[in-house]
Symmetry: C2
């Protein structure tokens, strides 16, 4: 974990040195999406880019080509959902080994475009190459009314913390490799409608749960300059507490709000305290979420 | 070549099935960039995504980390230049092996951000992962006055064909691995100012030369529904005719124009004929340009 956070922080510093004040890029590294505000438009554009790597995010032996295509797009759509955006178009960079054959590529595009059509996402272009293992980089552009994006940094003291659904199904599925939880792991459903509804209900602070609650809540609290206290952890049917606290890839939304939102599950509160500290049962919660970078 | 063109064509078909008429995505797959027209803005936004792969586009043994970073961004900036755009921001997805160390990543970002600052490109975000070989996916967003982008399809019968500089230096550098041509191969210079000047001079048809003149002119002619005749091939000092006709990665611009443009080198003419056919010395020219996909 330290490895990735350190390098990510240094990259953020090098990148920040390229930023110009007053430019149309109104939010850079550090949230689910970058934000670009086109001159003269009433919309902000959101941009996110996500790797889907063989043997990290999926396996050729246990995931169909369709599932890989679905998951590649779903991961990126989840970042747009986190800010309350409407997804507009995507760019698909795909590298895969010759041995998988063109039928694999066809299945991949089938899974990806099925999900794209369902969410009204247009496939605008991409790149294609050979590599010994499958590697996808998915870029999605979304749109939101100017200034309306929900940010990780938007939390305030006393805000309730909420999630859009119970947690741990994806981690349980990965452990069991069968049943509904396994389907959930292989075909995550981005919470696009939920994100839009939260934004329209006035919520200003959210992110998506991709790396586990303990890791992601730490990030939201840190960005908001506050501590977080968890009082309840809603578990998906059969998931362990460990899976619900630390399991990645649930792709539910985590958000902070000054008032209850109908249908959403309250898990705790944002408080004054050490920025980024997460308390659970009165003690600091260790961060054991999935760290793609440390594993490679 | 057949392999890539076939799969690219099929992917274009699957992608086209996601397009909606009347959407803000005004140009999808098939040109150097996709074009998105934000509601209410006087600008069009250009998007391009380009892989930079170890052992395909560069080698760790012969390219420094700085050169890899430079080249990753230069390749994508060249696509923006091809449409006459102003580059605005980029997203950097980087995967690299642990054995290269964080110093390699630092050098990569140094090379990339040096070039980014020179062209006013802001680094807006990205993704980070481990892989056994270096893999970069670079997305650049550029802007152009609405409707002003130069397209591959913009050529007309009788237009002169031009390039922004002599060709073959990159291929010669790759063969010799020393001298100025080798520097040129490792540190290509995107023709951003030249592309903007052409667009402002009223040119409507252009692309960048990344895969060799024979391949790329075929693409421009095909998109314009015309044949092309080459009468002159300007060679960089020391480059062979073969290198100038078929060598990739020169990153000069190729364009079609109804009148001469000062300082540009005329190489031929667009004519009625079989769409995409390129004639040289009265005969169809074989396409021997670099094909990244067939090699993997």
């Amino acid at each position: 974990v330290g490895d990735e956070l350190d390098l990510v922080r240094r990259i953020a510093g090098w990148s920040a040195a390229t930023l110009r004040s007053g430019s149309a890029l109104t939010l850079g590294i550090g949230d689910d999406c970058a934000i670009y505000s086109p001159d003269g438009s009433a919309e902000d554009l959101l941009f996110t880019t996500d790797f889907l790597l063989e043997d990290v995010h999926f396996e050729v032996a246990t995931h169909s080509a369709e599932e890989a295509g679905h998951k590649a797009l779903a991961r990126a759509l989840s970042d747009i959902a986190a800010m309350g955006g409407d997804p507009r178009f995507c760019l698909v960079s795909l590298a895969f080994p010759k041995k998988l054959g063109e039928r694999w590529a066809e299945g991949f595009y089938q899974g990806l475009t099925d999900l794209a059509k369902r969410f009204g996402v247009e496939v605008a272009g991409g790149d294609l190459a050979r590599q010994p293992r499958v590697l996808v980089d998915l870029v999605v552009c979304g749109a939101v009314v100017r200034g309306g994006a929900m940010l990780r940094s938007g939390g305030r003291v006393g805000d309730g913390l909420y999630v859009t659904g119970p947690l741990g199904a994806s981690a349980r599925g990965l452990a069991q490799r069968k049943g509904k939880a396994w389907d959930r792991h292989r075909r995550p459903e981005p919470r696009v409608a939920e994100g839009r509804a939260l934004r329209e209900a006035g919520v200003r602070c959210a992110m998506d749960l991709s790396d586990g609650l303990s890791m992601d809540l730490h990030r939201l609290a840190l960005a908001s300059g506050l501590a977080a206290e968890i009082t309840e952890v809603p578990r998906d049917r059969g998931a362990t507490l460990e899976q619900a606290l630390h399991g990645g890839e649930d792709y539910e939304l985590l958000f902070a709000s000054g008032r209850d939102v109908e249908g959403m599950i309250r898990i705790g509160t944002l408080r004054e305290g050490t920025a980024g500290e997460v308390l659970w049962r009165g003690k600091p919660l260790r961060r054991a979420g999935f760290d793609h970078f440390a594993r490679g």
